[in-house]
């Protein structure tokens, strides 16, 4: 016992200050690829190398629509390497969670030269930048909501609906002393009947569809569902096939999407706190109804 205490004291506090302070992450970390659409002279090489089809090029005569889907992105960085014009840059941004699937998709319209390169940018549709505030704010709001509405506790049920277990590793990491999810009053529970939030990884496999539905149905209202990782959002590299139904929202309604392959623990934390906000809205609606 003495040794245990000695080791504990010698170790000290290792818990990160995120989100009240910015996350300390390596400058080597591959976060969101950012696209300088003005500067981008050709999207085809990036489309060619993208392993999941997150970058799509659709040509119609002399015009082109380029779609970038962060819900499919596995953050491999190949698009930046393939784009010789340096218009694609890998950033360290990871707070990408969004309440709307469409917010994860950017589109750009170009007029083309005869050789298929971009002549002129006609327009960009992107919602990602005006995303749901910064993490600190989200964390602060969430903490207040957890204290007020949830009586200082939020219970999460996690379901692996077919993942490769990469997302599970990072979700488990949320419980380690470094990320320590419990400091927000958030904890994982064994039964869906005790849960406010369903955290789902996957692509949802044909064999897990029923189990996921039953888990969802067993949860009391109000409840929120969070889809984790490229596979959970869109099916990721697996997509849809004879054994996979693709993203979680093909089976149960999803309130928040957290991109990543897998999302790092801070990204999960950001997404979970964002979802607390959604839960707060639902509770408010319930109580005023």
């Amino acid at each position: 016992m003495f040794k245990i205490l000695q080791k504990t004291i010698a170790t000290g506090i290792v818990t990160t200050k995120y989100p009240s302070e910015p996350a300390q992450i390596s400058d080597r970390f591959r976060g969101r690829p950012s696209f300088d659409f003005e500067k981008w002279t050709d999207a085809r090489p990036a489309e060619e190398v993208c392993p999941t089809g997150a970058i799509l090029v659709c040509d119609d005569g002399d015009s082109r629509r380029v779609t970038v889907d962060y819900g499919l992105c596995v953050f491999c960085g190949l698009c930046a390497e393939a784009s010789a014009d340096r218009a694609v840059r890998i950033t360290q941004e990871f707070e990408l969670a969004s309440a709307h699937r469409r917010n994860l998709i950017l589109t750009a319209e170009y007029l083309l030269s005869t050789d298929g390169t971009h002549r002129e940018l006609r327009g960009v549709h992107q919602r990602l930048v005006d995303l749901e505030a910064d993490a600190d704010q989200v964390g602060q709001q969430a903490r207040e909501r957890i204290q007020k509405l949830l009586k200082r506790s939020l219970a999460i049920r996690e379901v692996d609906a077919g993942s490769c277990n990469g997302c599970e590793l990072e979700i488990v990491a949320l419980n380690n002393p470094v990320y320590d999810l419990e400091r927000f009053g958030v904890h994982f529970v064994a039964s869906p009947r005790h849960a406010d939030m369903l955290l789902v990884t996957g692509p949802v496999t044909r064999n897990m569809e029923l189990a996921l539905l039953k888990t969802y149905q067993a949860m009391p209202e109000p409840k929120v569902v969070v889809a984790v990782g490229a596979c959970g959002i869109s099916g990721g590299i697996f997509g849809k096939n004879y054994a996979s139904l693709g993203g979680v929202d093909n089976v149960v309604p999803v309130d928040v999407y957290i991109p990543g392959c897998p999302p790092r623990p801070q990204a999960l934390l950001h997404g979970i706190l964002l979802a607390v906000g959604r839960l707060g809205e639902k509770m408010y609606m319930d109580s005023s109804a």
Binding site: K7, I25, P51, C76, N165, P177, A190, N207, N241, S244
Partner: protein, 525 residues
């Protein structure tokens, strides 16, 4: 080895249709279907060969038949023997070896389910890889499109064997479990607390991975390989790249080989230290787990500094690795290894000093060596029960030939020894890492990749942290694969869990399961 082939020719001369070496380390022996049983029996008895994998391939378009492959390893020989037999398309049956060799039980049934080839004489021919309520389809046949939309489930649900007797009842658990783990179904038959019999139902996370490999262009398929089992991303990624490199005769530069070795060992340490903590948690020693997860986080952050990803993804590529390390990264690597080594000693001392923890782990979940041999158990679980294979030593790949290390083997086979194997392996890995990080890392990070020639076969093995990972490929035209067989060590280790839990109390199941820590996704693919 020359003598080996001489003996083989003398004994089986007439039956062997041909012997060919794709590469030095990979010998293909073609025999007719009727000789397979005697040949494998002979190799096992005379040369203590180990049957490492069994898989099938649909070659009806090219050769008019299916092929079954039996991958054997002869003790003390760095080469693999691949015995190939045809299975007729109009008489889709093959002789089952499961009765004599329980190790291939699930693999033969997988062939039944995925290819529609019947394993005649199989003692338990029920479905394993496709659940009972699936329609009658065989997804790995070439005439089954990947995107097929199957009708909703009908048909029988799986019927578990009843366990009868006074006071005997059955406890169904899963596929959604209490903790944050992958899905699978366990059906325990218990009498009071002790477990009489455990039935497993896996393949809940089957997502068509092997079929999908046939559709993706080869460079993109590397990312799919990294998603076979997230905790083994780098091992599976490397196994896949090695297979392609062998098929296309690409020589990987030494710098990349050393870097791969370093990253493979980092993956091993990362997972082992997490498992050691998780085993401690499952017997109530939560403080040890807090330290273990903290140590794991140290390594995972290092992973990120070295590769840009916490699971080491996006680093391995065909021909080598995608980028080299600068002085800052190498300094961080050496410093973290040194810091980790001293912290790890403290962690092990902490667990060793807890008698109540040791008491719960010793003699719990025993897998006897003879059972481990029957079931062909590999990796950590195998080495705790007297099995000795380790691909790093027996079939050196990456830069393993350059470093010396010990492979820990115990005979006791309880949870305590599965933990001890991990502790020993972490210490050995730290030794490898110290030697490897002293090497000068200069030169190219990856080789030029030529167009991948069609119709080449290649086998690749990697000793992942969990055990032997096998990838076998046949290339096709236009930078695509005709077939990619993936064997994660979890597939043959699951039946070991069934053996190990018998007679233990149900409350010890979590710690026994954790001591194996098998991948569901790697099994189900």
């Amino acid at each position: 080895m020359a003598q080996f082939f001489e003996t083989l020719q003398q004994r089986f001369g007439a039956q062997i249709q041909s012997i060919s070496a794709e590469r030095e380390e990979e010998i293909y022996i073609f025999v007719s279907e009727s000789d397979i049983r005697t040949l494998i029996e002979y190799l096992r008895n005379e040369f203590t060969a180990r049957l490492a994998a069994v898989f099938a391939e649909d070659r009806r378009c090219a050769d008019g038949v299916f092929f079954n492959y039996y991958v054997l390893e002869v003790k003390g020989d760095p080469r693999y023997l691949l015995v190939r037999t045809p299975v007729r398309a109009d008489h889709a049956e093959f002789l089952s070896l499961s009765a004599e060799l329980p190790a291939v039980n699930w693999q033969e049934r997988e062939i039944q389910d995925w290819f529609g080839l019947k394993a005649t004489g199989h003692p338990n021919p029920r479905r394993v890889a496709l659940h009972d309520n699936w329609p009658d389809v065989h997804p790995l046949r070439k005439d089954f499109p990947l995107e097929t939309v199957l009708p909703p489930f009908e048909g029988e649900r799986h019927i578990y064997r009843p366990a009868l007797g006074e006071g005997v009842f059955q406890v169904p658990v899963g596929p959604v479990h209490a903790g944050i783990i992958e899905p699978g179904h366990f059906n325990f038959a218990v009498a009071g607390e002790p477990i009489l019999y455990l039935q497993l139902r896996m393949f809940y996370t089957h997502k068509g991975t092997e079929k999908l490999f046939e559709k993706l262009p080869i460079p993109k398929a590397v990312f799919l390989a990294e998603s076979i089992s997230g905790d083994s991303s780098f091992s599976h990624g490397t196994a896949f790249c090695q297979a392609i490199e062998r098929a296309a005769q690409i020589e990987v530069p030494l710098r990349a080989l050393i870097m791969r070795t370093i990253l493979l060992e980092l993956e091993r340490i990362c997972n082992h230290v997490a498992d050691i903590g998780a085993i401690a948690t499952d017997v109530g020693f939560v403080v040890a787990n807090a330290h273990a997860t903290r140590l794991k986080e140290m390594l995972v952050s290092l992973n990120e500094r070295l590769t840009g990803n916490r699971l080491l993804r996006g680093m391995v590529c065909i021909g080598g690795v995608r980028r080299g390390w600068d002085a800052v990264q190498l300094g961080s690597l050496r410093a973290t290894i040194a810091g980790f080594a001293s912290e790890f000693r403290d962690l092990v001392a902490l667990i060793d000093s807890s008698e109540s923890t040791r008491d719960r782990l010793e003699q719990t979940g025993v897998l006897r060596p003879e059972k481990a041999k029957d079931l062909g158990i590999v990796g950590v679980a195998g080495r705790a029960s007297g099995m000795n294979p380790d691909a790093r030593r027996d079939h050196p790949y990456a830069a393993y030939g350059r470093y010396s290390f010990r492979v820990p083997v115990y005979q006791v086979g309880d949870v305590s020894h599965r933990m001890q194997v991990r502790v020993d392996e972490v210490n050995e890995s730290l030794g490898i890492l110290r030697s490897a990080t002293e090497e000068s890392l200069h030169g190219e990070c990856s080789a030029q990749v030529p167009p991948i020639p069609a119709d080449r076969c290649a086998l690749s093995t990697v000793e992942g942290w969990r055990g032997e990972i096998i990838h076998w490929i046949r290339t096709g035209p236009d930078n695509h694969l005709e077939r990619c067989k993936i064997k994660d060590p979890s597939l043959n280790n699951w039946p070991a869990l069934v053996e190990a839990v018998q007679g233990n109390i149900i409350a010890d199941f979590p710690v026994i399961n954790k001591s194996f820590n098998l991948s569901y996704s790697g099994t189900d693919r």
